[in-house]
Amino acid sequence: MAKTVETVIRELSGPTPGQIMRSKVFGHRGLMIGGLVLLFVILVAIFAPLLAPHDPYHQNLMIRMRPPVWYDKGTWEHVLGTDHLGRDYLSRLIYGSRISLAIGLIAALISGLIGTAMGIAAGYFGGKVDMVVTFLINVRLAMPVVLVALAVVALFGGSLQIVIMVLGLLLWDRFAVVMRSATLQLRSMEYVTAARAIGCSTRRIIFSEIMPNILNNLIVIVTLEMAHAILLEAILSFLGLGVQPPTPSWGLMVSEGKQMLLFEPWMITIPGVALFVLVLAINLMGDGLRDVTAPENRN
């Protein structure tokens, strides 16, 4: 396929697709802010042992609920104060970033695997497979998530693994819905029909023709579901049925601080703000990614 003179000229003079994308990404304020905050949290999580001033599990019943440094009774020894067992709040907050990220990431991964597989299968094969998947999506949507998650955690006992599993097994619906319709659109595209016509295997078509083209959608949903999972874990922990102590989870910290809301509001404020900022960042990033990767900008 010889290039026409015009296209060559256009390519030489205009920005490359990569350049366009880069300028879109860096020009999107929400995406940048969200991305930077998320990057910061990830770095904190990775370097937690270096950053934390104290052992997050070390208890000292003599110095319970010391307020953060900006209060009159605060000390620089415990910058964000200590919790109800005298553990350093800052260190627990730092280590807690690992838990929240792990919950968000792994739950989104599990649900992503389930949902994507179901969605692609439904979209690609259509017919009976589609009917079954659509039915399963409907069943899943009809189940009250919080209630079912609470029941399962209550019955099996809460632990990090169980909370992640439950959330992963419950949050696949959006993946399935979006992947199904995206695949449905792609299936009738020319290059897919062409690939089928020349006798490519189903597996090859799905992995090399369909997957790369729905990746954009997938990433956007992964971010949304991460945020969803982190918030749900916080709700489960708030209701007393989330991860178990002494794990330094932000949701658990909110739940433990809840009792002192009226007297030591910082105990719930600090992890609450951390949660809020993390979820906000992930959402901003998700929204930004959707804007940037959409065929045309929304406005």
């Binding site: 208890q59 209550a154 809460g158 178990q244 102590p245 809840k258 009792q259 002192m260 809301l261 509001p265």
Partner: protein, 506 residues
């Protein structure tokens, strides 16, 4: 948001409301919060503290135990006498009426007793009633209660959970009717029940004048279920509540500092303890809990006093024996083990665990206490994983396959007798993880003897061996905080049962 909240709270705390808008004294209504939904007001068909409260205020028993000095007095019965080991004769009070106008006499006693002892009727807490065989009417105001076997704690139960129901009404409506429209002889009558949500009570004007409970003075009680402490406190600040209870220690301390309300603290009969798998129910192969030195090491590893001082506070204190100190037969003259982590490590090494070991730590309430104890165990090398379950799930686990170590509590149903505690757990029941035959045999003697000295002697023997073998780590007694408006005159009792008929406005 953060600043706003912090600012708002500070304002809330420094706020000096001079007499709230809806204060209870003005309209003679005490507004009360329950923390949990009560399943049924019928006292034989619930097992909750809230149920016990309702029972004491709405019904009367044949006898009454003064909560402040422990003395037994007649209530619906005026005299009682043991005919033999298994027969109790009671003379009933005349001139008592039920809330619905029904007259109280022997028929009510006979009907109630015979109803509750019938297993088919499924009274929820069988132990409260299953020591009785039947009741028999001698004449209109005299009855005999026949026991299945000698039962020294009978008087205690008749003064506690066994309340007397009106026979005609109960025969007609049954437990479900009694649950929504309760009728008793007690100082308060129920005027409205919204199951689980709200109970409205009103002073019973015809309450029998010679009752050892005294006469109620507050006109109306409005009880609402509000599960969250913060919401309760918010209501209290705004005057929507006058009285709350079971307030956690830290919050009570803060409320005391505010000096807007009366904060009363009283010890309760509940004891916390660690239960260890001495009999090897989880498996006998390489089970560290079967070694007495390991159990003693665990005892030495935990700073019980620090936990009491920092977390429970109030009138709680550490206990050393597998019973509540005031219970008949309970002795604290047993081996105890100080907080000594070095000694704990030495004992572990001696038992063949110089580097400690890893184990599951089970609990069902007060996650923070459990967490604190786990931290102490971690410090001597015993790595613990918390398994926090619902009570029923934990119970099932313990019954089926045992648990290596679990944080348990027991309130003895407020029964002031060691048979309701020690005997409950060391007589090879499904929750007996020690399975010590000698202890069981001693307890059998103590439980069934009618001679107080023999009982004391054998309880002491059993308790000493339990301590020597460190089957349990007895931890501490609980306490309860009550917070109420300064308009209210009230002194909590040790059995943690609020008696609204003993409260009054100042």
């Amino acid at each position: 948001m953060k600043k706003l909240l912090a600012g708002a709270s500070i304002i809330a705390l420094t706020m000096v409301a001079a007499g709230s808008a809806w204060a209870g004294k003005a309209d003679d209504t005490l507004k009360i919060a329950f923390n949990k939904e009560l399943e049924s007001v019928d006292s034989f068909y619930n097992s909750a503290r809230e149920g016990v409260i309702m029972q004491h205020n709405v019904w009367d028993g044949l006898l009454y135990r003064d909560p402040y000095n422990g003395e037994y007095k007649g209530n619906l019965a005026t005299e009682w006498e043991w005919i033999d080991d298994v027969t109790l004769e009671l003379v009933l009070r005349e001139g008592v009426t039920f809330h619905n106008g029904e007259e109280f006499d022997a028929d009510d006693v006979v009907y109630t007793v015979n109803w509750v002892v019938d297993e088919k009727n499924g009274v929820k807490t069988q132990r409260n009633v299953n020591w009785m065989k039947s009741a028999e009417k001698i004449d209109k105001y005299k009855v005999r209660i026949h026991l299945k076997a000698p039962f020294p704690a009978a008087i205690e139960y008749l003064a506690g959970p066994v309340s007397i129901y009106p026979n005609e009404y109960y025969a007609k409506v049954g437990p479900s009717g009694m649950g929504v429209e309760p009728v008793g002889t007690g100082p308060y009558k129920v005027v409205k029940v919204e199951p689980g949500k709200r109970f409205v009570l009103e002073k019973f004007d015809n309450y029998h004048k010679d009752s050892p409970k005294g006469q109620p003075t507050i006109g109306n009680l409005d009880i609402r279920t509000i599960p969250d402490f913060n919401t309760q406190a918010a209501e209290l600040f705004g005057g929507g509540l006058d009285w709350i209870w079971e307030v956690p220690a830290d919050q009570a301390e803060k409320m005391t500092a505010m000096d807007r309300f009366t904060v009363a603290n009283e010890s309760t009969m509940r004891i916390g303890y660690l239960d260890m798998d001495a009999a090897g129910l989880t498996g006998t192969e390489n089970n560290p809990m079967m070694d007495v030195r390991v159990r003693q090491a665990i005892y030495h590893a935990i700073d019980r006093q620090a936990i009491v001082d920092a977390l429970l506070k109030g009138k709680s204190r550490i206990v050393n024996s597998a019973c509540f100190p005031s219970q008949f037969g309970c002795t604290e003259d047993v081996t105890s083990y100080d907080y000594d982590p070095e000694k704990a490590k030495a004992l572990l090494a001696e038992a063949g665990y110089p580097d400690g070991f890893e184990t599951d730590f089970y609990a069902y309430r007060e996650r923070d206490y459990a967490e604190a104890m786990m931290n102490y165990l971690n410090a001597v090398g015993i790595k613990t994983n918390l398994r926090f379950l619902q009570y029923s799930a934990l119970r099932e686990q313990r019954m089926k396959s045992g648990t290596p170590i679990s944080f348990q509590t027991w309130g003895s149903y407020s029964i002031n007798d060691a048979s309701a505690f020690t005997s409950e757990f060391f007589k090879f029941g499904s929750l007996d993880l020690a399975r010590d035959e000698e202890v069981r045999d001693w307890l059998d003697v103590a439980d069934s003897s009618v001679d107080p000295e023999t009982r004391k002697e054998f309880y002491a023997k059993a308790l000493k061996k339990i301590a020597d073998q460190a089957y349990w780590v007895p931890l501490f007694s609980y306490n309860s905080n009550y917070i109420f408006t300064k308009d209210l005159e009230y002194k909590p009792a040790m059995d943690d049962i609020p008696r609204f008929f003993q409260m009054s406005w100042k």
